[in-house]
Amino acid sequence: MKTTAYRLSSGGAVDRSRPLSFQFDGAAYQGFAGDTLASALLANGVRLFGRSFKYHRPRGVMALGSAEPNALVELRAGAQREPNIQATMAELYDGLVARSQNRFPSLRYDLMAANQLAARFFVAGFYYKTFMWPSAFWEPVYEKLIRRAAGLGRAADAGDPDRYDHMHAHPDVLVVGGGPSGLAAARAASRVGARTMLVDENPNLGGALRFERTAIDGAPGDMWTDQITSEIADCGNGEILRRTTALGRYDHNVVLALERVSDHLPTPEKGRPRQRLWIIRPKQIVVASGAEERPIAFADNDKPGVMLSSAVRGFVNRYAVAPGRRVAIVTVNDDGYLTARDLKAAGVDVTLIADARGRTSVVSAELEAAGAPVLRNALPEQALGGIEVSGLRLQNAAGDRLADHPCDVIAVAGGYNPRIQLLSQSGAAPVWREDLLSFVPPETDDATQVAGACRGVYDLKACIEDGVAAGAEAARRAGFTDAADAPRPEPRPVAAAKLFEAPKPIGRSRGKAFVDFQNDVTADDVRLAVREGYEAVEHLKRYTTLGMATDQGKLSSVNGLAVLAEARGKPIAEVGTTRFRPPYAPAAIGAFAGYERGETFQPVRRTAMHRSHEQACATFVEAGQWLRPRYYARAGEDMTAAIRREAAAVRNTLGVCDVSTLGKIDVYGPDAMEFLNRLYINNWAKLPVGKARYGVMLREDGHIFDDGTTSRLSDDHCFLTCTTANAARVLAHMEYAAEVLFPDYDVTFCSATEQWCGVAIAGPNSRNALGKLFDGFDVSDAALPFMGVAETELFGVKARVFRISFSGELAYEINVPWGAGEMLWRRLMEAGAEFDITPYGTEALSVLRIEKGHIAGPEIDGRTTAADVGLGRMMAKKDFIGKTLAARPGLTAADRPALVGVRPVSAEDRLRGGAHFVKDPDRFEQESLGWVSSVADSPNVGSWIGLGFLKGGAARLGERIYAAYPLKAEMTEVEICAPCFVDPEGERLRG
């Protein structure tokens, strides 16, 4: 176990009584409860955390929270391994295992760092330039190379075993950020009765207070935070979500937030998700997301040991960790002095404060008087050292080199950037404030308040006042009019030097000055992009990758824009910013999927007979959301054999098929028949009670929409069926027709799909089986002729028997209520046993209907007309939906492909759905004469057969042409025939 050489003996909020063991790159370390992985590693003297994206430069910790660009590690192992976790956000737990990324063979000796030697070729846009020629190399060579080199970290090889879920919330006021402003806002809103939700991405509330020694009303910041937090939690209408990051803000103030429910634990507790995605629809939102300190671009400013001043201070104050032994501070404002003061109080040696300003301030004068080593007009030139910082090179304002300063930490205070990402995401363009040297949110909408540092109010007292006022205003706008009106404090100008990029090093230097650490974008890259014409800020982003990935401008934005502005000779305000994009911080893809993955990707519908199918060893297919039996393979049978057996059984004796999934609609009313007359192309007015009829519906544009059989059960009650796939659409179509097209019709209807389950029994023995199933029900042809319908009873409940056939055999459909479905199946199997009753699935069903030339989904694909499928003569003279447009020239042209049958000339050849009809067998590229829509390996015909659409249609019966299937390089000679292969006279059907 290594010593924790950099842990301070006192102070901080870590729990020294709870030591935790963890590993990084195989080495064992110890930290304390309350540590992050970053603070625990720093406490152990580890400063090298990873290698950079492009140049493989050594990198350490730079920031404190979710802005950290460098210290990205792989966390956990096996299927739970996750790359690119910010060490500053990873809470330490006992047994944590982390690994550095993007290095080979080790973090300290990374061979890929040789990329730096070729750095002058790896400038912005290098692969657009480098991999241009020869163009034939692009896909086989260059793309593979780039893909191998690109990316950071490794995804887990196995599926994610963790659970994720979603939660909806509708607070009156949502407060984003649990710092002083956010807490004050949440308290102000909740105390007047507004349902208030506060989200904060850290495990502890308090925002910046957590990292400061600041007292509020004489008490430590944590005490104030605890006090306000309990007031919010105890008022009865406040909800606080810790470890919850607002990822994105969308139209109508919808906010997505990610709660890391279990990421701080070794494994999630039983039943608990790892992460939870909140979908929040607040009436009002208060954005109190604070501000991020920004770095300064100077040579080698990415070396491990160069850190943000606020981060150095925070590691000391919160985690009692000294990031180094000799700290040099580079500052443009008073923030560097605050760091010096806190470090001194903690006993950490501050050896230099290099202030870019020439003038003194109250704070700086105070510290200087107390003996702080201040150097004015001093600008950083370069961070010195090998892998880690060992010194700081400085220039003065006149451009003269100053003496090198030995140190192991350079704390950089470059000013603050308000965290405006959430506000920018939804389209509000940020406004540059020269007096604040930062972008601030624009005037916001009626449902949004911005409070505290996020709008440039940095003084703590003012932040709290601003939060109180914003929270009250949000509550009032949400309808809680008791909320008091309070003045909003205005941001005060910052007393800072305007320094985004330090002067270039004097003389020759290979140092790189980074503006975007995560994407390895330097100030020189930005200038190069401008020289090459990528001047617009959005172009610059895409050409250089500035501000991409998890950074999203958190650290990189303003410095990059400042360099761009200078290169273009324009003020920053004119250059503008890119639009930030969600997510604000990284989130696991699993959180977005939630429950909807794998087997539960979408809900499934089971028919009442599902268990019977399982017992009969059905293989299921998803038809829409339904699970339908596809075929029932017996022992030793493959799918093809099973389908052939099932299809033959129907023709030879008896088959049974679950047809419960068909859409069923009860249609009621005196005008029901007239309504059907409008829906269908054929005549319905004279359909007698007790009869069924086949009908075809068109869309308004004249193409076929759906088909099915509808029965008349009484004078004012019809039972309409439609295809499984179109069930919901047909109901919606009918609602539209009844409400909009025919509002005067006295008709009403509702879905009855699930009330009734149904089976088809088909085959020469179907009447015999039916007779055995029912007692005292006349199944004779006279009593129940073809297209006859009867209502009766079975098992003591209502049953309906329809003499209809999709297979072309003597067939019936029996409907019983859902609960009786399993019993119906069982009794039918018993009744049909002597006829060798055979369950058949959707595949055999398809074979049978193709043998008969009955159309189904592939023939009703939204592009065909009734005439195309041979049903043109069904179109009656009366008016019906789609009639007018069905008559337009395009849909009545003589050369439209029309339905034909097709069979291979050689009985051994197979047909393929999707093949195109062509004339010339010697080439695939030629005019298509039509296509094969459905095919079947027919046991009853003895060869493959198919249906298709061919120009000239019925006029070409007997012709021999070719079916081309380029995907398998097949060219099959086929004969065009009538689209009916079995019993063309329909004798079996009416037997």
Binding site: R195, R611, D666, G669
Partner: protein, 202 residues
């Protein structure tokens, strides 16, 4: 109705009718088995007559309780009427009689699954799948809604302020919906392993 040989949408899981599961933290959830479930459809221009005949409220979002059971207005001129299974036959008979000339009733009792969810955590279970706001200040006892949860069309009815919710979905979706409910409740102590064990997809 009431034939014991008939299946309910979850009988393949071996659940006895009305069997449920208690989580910790005051969460109970159970399968109600079969209930009477009727779609009431008013004829053109007879919505008021049907409402009067059956004592229904025409307003959406609130259930109306009458002698025939509990009704939810789902669309102008349409209601869903629910009652206990043992009253279903009688309800169908009397409602059909009351509607002659003014509307129709479509018996859907076998076509639906009915679940009940109760306890202080019930609201959180709902919030995992339902985008509507069920906070007490927005919806209380008597509130009803026709919406979608976990990708499944549902009718939700809050029957008391415990709160207790009745949820209805199509019978075919019952298995998927039940598994989702169990999964959502596991965080609150529901142990659904036995109650979902027969799951098998080929």
């Amino acid at each position: 109705m009431g034939n014991n040989d008939f299946i309910t949408p979850l009988s393949h899981l071996g659940l006895r009718e009305g069997e449920g599961v208690a989580g910790g933290d005051g969460l109970h959830l159970w399968d109600r088995g079969r209930v009477g479930f009727f779609q009431i459809l008013a004829r053109k221009g007879r919505t008021g007559a049907v409402a009067t005949a059956l004592g229904f409220d025409e307003a959406p979002r609130l259930a109306s309780h009458g002698v025939y059971g509990t009704a939810f207005a789902t669309t102008p001129g349409e209601w869903v009427l629910v009652c206990n299974d043992d009253e279903a036959s009688e309800t169908l008979r009397t409602v059909s009689g009351a509607l002659v000339g003014s509307g129709y009733v479509s018996d859907q009792s076998f076509g639906r699954a009915a679940f009940r969810l109760s306890g202080v955590k019930a609201r959180l279970v709902l919030a995992k799948g339902c985008a509507l706001d069920w906070s007490p200040s927005v919806r209380g006892a008597g509130a009803c809604a026709q919406t979608s949860m976990a990708g499944i069309g549902v009718i939700i009815h809050q029957i008391d302020d415990a709160p207790t919710y009745d949820l209805y979905c199509y019978a075919g979706f019952a298995d998927s919906f039940w598994r989702w409910l169990i999964c959502a409740g596991e965080e609150f102590g529901v142990d659904g392993r036995r109650l979902t064990k027969e799951w098998k997809r080929d």
